[in-house]
Symmetry: D2
């Protein structure tokens, strides 16, 4: 682990646990301290964290140095040895805790939804809108924070936005329809009861459709001076939960401003390398992988592509109602949460902000 | 079982097996003979049919009179004791077998896709387009058949079309977007390998999207003299397979010609009783059931509504891209296949055509 | 619903909810009042109960008369209109609540484990040890209760004990090995997190093995005067949780005192009708159903046999280590819980104790 | 890939596909040729092999050099460029094909069951009975084969035998009871239909119990001169199929000749390193991993331990019927099949037999 000491808030949840795993062996960041919920402060991390529920390689033991960490309270004074804070807190808790850390001088990168749509808080996907970090000066000034707060989008938004960004840049989006088939780990380690999802689909995820219908426009918006003008196209989202462990799959249809044929669309996806040359350790070589098979992408087969950091698209074909339709899939806990905040941190570090 | 003696072709498959179960105790129809694939002719039905794989009540034993039936070849001369033929054959087999039966004087009601889009063959949902039976005279004349052929739509089409029909009648459809989450029994008893679907979604079902993008327009079309003019609106379908046993769920968005508010849409669904007074034994009192909960319909909870013969809709809300979006769910083997052909047969019987 | 007014404690859980469903239309019993957890008192039952999660027919609406019941506190004074109390409480709560009801004069039939092994409390399966009700006089005297308490065994124990009872009566059991594959509903409506069981098996269920290794001997024991002498044979249990909604499957091996061939074992199972002539409404005609197929019983196909009240056995074959091995399966929420307490109540009623 | 050129028969199945993946980058072996079923000869491997169905990392593309291989017929003359043949053929095909290759001078290592119990064919687990390779001289003489045939046990047997071997060596086994909960990939890529296993358990796997009740005794037997005397203890097996992708879990009870306490049993498992110092590339450091948690091992969490080459044991506790009971789990396609034959090959190579 590397030179910047980081703290992780919400480290006992699905996203936080995944983040701890990604931080092990990270070349730039070293885990300094961990916090779970208020009830867990003072307990040993290895005793609280059902880290193994996260995946097939879960059997891998946590290093003793991490497992033996004593969980701290989620208070700035408990993280004085850290310079950067990752927050995987629930939104309601994040609402008060994250500003407290920023006010205490920490850089905070959050996976929570609490501040994503705040006008002076960047909602960031490094490949999509790195320039939005320009909001931070404005944010620090307006809020009087020595630290700052950057947010990571919703896990379904991220993969949709990655697939849409190069299309928007090349052809201009006029409208987007999306239906999601989301994995159970997106609801946290115990968020979905087995009896609710086995041999079943739940066509509702609280708050999810609102996020998907507003976050992408901010992500694809333009930073004009001190404010972001969101991209001007409507999104309609229908979100469902299905019986997969990890990997959100989305069926998407788009209307474009500039007509494009399939070859042009494929080309903009395949050639899209906005972070090329930045040497961010967690950045995939190509953020979008295009599968050629008629029945891909599939969650179990494709979610771990590029270590879970890529969005995998496939089945591009004309849409009789809008212009084109396709399927996109990505790992909800890696690129969709823990890997997303980590990549933001790497970008901030590369830009000298941490 | 009642007075009309019927034969079932494809009786050893998922749809055929379901049909045999629905025919047990039917007030109008009695099973006269059964045929499976060519290889099964001469075998005992009870030895071939894994009827119990069809559902939770599968443990119920087949009556000996049915289980002991010897499977016949799918030839007209083997079914001389029957007046009506139900076909649950694969499309490729149906292509030649169904015309042979119609030419030999049988009324044939088919669940196969082979002739659904033929200009002189009714594609029928009794609640939606009973008037299309007027095509039969034309069909018999043109083909020189003493018998006739009527077809049942695709299992996903049926529930979509049921939900769309009253909207089209009341407000006029201008465009439809649909994504399906289809159950494994839709692919037949052994159609989906467990290793392909456990912890997975397969975003492709061969031929399914084409069917969903063309059958509803024929169903909602107008019979003008001797031809059907299909309804004039585009449908865009994305079809996926998920790990549910039975029950296809569909997320739908629609654009209407005449603006309608939620109350109006709900009213046309809830008041829609096109078969009222017809006394068809398998017809649900209300073909469309509206659930009020924010997370319904769900496959395991709602697929058996009205004995599997209803389409269950829910989650009606405005669509930022088209006008309205909602979720519809229905049993793919009951109303979507076996129950669908049975209801057609009941309509034909009530109209004196059998 | 019939003449005896009953109360249900724990009515918002899986077993309690199932019991409410079984009581609808019961010829002898009428629901008088319902209690959930302390937190739910004063709320409307239909708002609290996710009754539909219980099964495929769950879409069936609760009658308004039940859905509109206001949940009561689990206190004797709140159930004065009832003469019989069913308890589906958690063991820790049952520990104090059930004696309070018995002390207040109620007959209590409990699905909880709290008092199952108490010396003066009958642990009852009507077909197996109806004579153990003789303990009740002793119980009322010793405890000074005007009411009484009878308990229903663990959901896995019941089906094992049903399969073992006729063997023990006919041949004498010398030893039993059992491995269970238990359904998720056995842990309650939210007891198993989806992420823990999808594509997984959990080879541990807290307290379950202890129950299975001690309850059957009490059930098969002899009432001598005022005490039960447990049957004298060891049981070794290994309990696992698998991804099935309902239906516990158990692989069993037995050693017998009197040698028996397969035909003799099959005969004692198939002819066993200990409740014959008692006319208990919920009693299956034959408590044990024997399947002949090489791959049965199976949870999805056989759990609903005889309305979920039968135990289904199959695969009887010699055991190279003990004498015989076989598979038994039964519905954990019906006969294994709600149906079990209901059948006990029917027996008590038939015997004039209620 | 290394210096010995190998051929793989049955390369398009689950075990064969897994073997191809394990051979990529192997330090000693290089893939020379591949054969699938007769029907596939002449086709491109990458077009036939649904290699990605094997696991979460399946998205990884096959190297072009492998994907572009043209499938050969399973005939010795088609594999002249190879010195070693791995067979993952179905038993019925292996019956004639494997002897043909051995007669043609090839060393054949087979995962098929056809010859496992033949008196002159080693059934081998390198950690358990490497000495049984002494049978090969006898085999070659008796059969007149310039080549030879070694077999790998059944996928469930392997993990049972690994857990039993050190117990047998230390304390002597007197009896073994085992119930398996086997993954769907154990039946091949399309061996289990989804409709048969979703929300279900199938308590029957054809031939499996016979294998588990006879193979371990041969594995733990003694080579006396030219014959193996099987270990003299009975095994009783009950085999079930559950809805897991990979990883067979087994509940085991054992009776020992020499009494042992838990500490002694744990010690023999944990210290067991029979291949120590052999430097076989695929051998796990410790073939048996002991988990301490009360609810482990679990398929999804533990199947990939030591790259899928270890057997994971847990839940050791006294057995009221025999002496001790425990749970063992292992990857059915890696150590249980492809990894098993590979480790045998490495042993043969280390011993100079290839």
């Amino acid at each position: 682990m590397g030179g910047v000491t980081v703290g992780v808030l919400g480290a006992t949840g699905a996203a936080g646990g995944q983040l701890v795993q990604l931080l092990l062996g990270h070349p730039w960041f070293t885990i300094g301290g961990l916090a779970g919920s208020a009830a867990t402060a003072g307990q040993r991390y290895g005793d609280r964290m059902r880290v193994t529920a996260l995946g097939p390689a879960g059997g891998a033991a946590l290093p003793a140095a991490i497992a033996d960490q004593i969980l701290r309270p989620a208070l700035p004074e408990a993280f004085r040895d850290c310079t950067l804070i990752f927050s995987a807190l629930p939104a309601a808790v994040a609402q008060t805790v994250e500003p407290a850390f920023a006010a205490a001088g920490f850089g905070v990168i959050s996976n929570a939804s609490a501040f994503r749509m705040a006008a002076d808080v960047p909602l960031l996907i490094p490949e999509v809108n790195a320039a939005h970090l320009g909001l931070l000066d404005q944010q620090q000034q307006a809020r009087g924070w020595p630290g700052f707060l950057v947010t990571n989008p919703n896990c379904s938004t991220i993969h949709l936005a990655l697939a849409l960004a190069p299309l928007h840049q090349a052809f201009g989006l006029a409208a987007v329809q999306v239906t999601t088939l989301q994995a159970i780990s997106g609801a946290g380690l115990r968020g979905v009861a087995a009896l609710d999802i086995l041999d079943n689909v739940v066509p509702f995820i609280g708050g999810e459709e609102d996020k998907m219908e507003s976050e992408p426009q901010k992500l694809l918006g333009r930073l004009d001076g001190a404010a972001i003008t969101p991209a001007d196209f409507p999104i309609s989202a229908q979100c469902t939960r299905v019986a997969t462990t990890h990997g959100h799959l989305e069926t998407v249809a788009v209307k474009l401003h500039t007509p494009a044929d399939a070859a042009a669309i494929r080309a903009v996806w395949q050639e899209w390398q906005p972070l090329r040359g930045r040497d961010l350790p967690s950045a995939p070589g190509y953020p979008i992988l295009l599968r050629e098979e008629e029945d891909r992408p599939q969650p179990r087969l494709d979610r771990d592509s590029a270590g879970g950091m890529a969005s995998v698209v496939g089945r591009l074909r004309p849409c009789p109602v809008l212009d084109w339709k396709f399927v996109v899939l990505g790992h909800n806990l890696v690129r969709g949460a823990a890997g997303g905040v980590l990549l933001i941190a790497e970008l901030l570090h590369a830009e000298g902000r941490i």
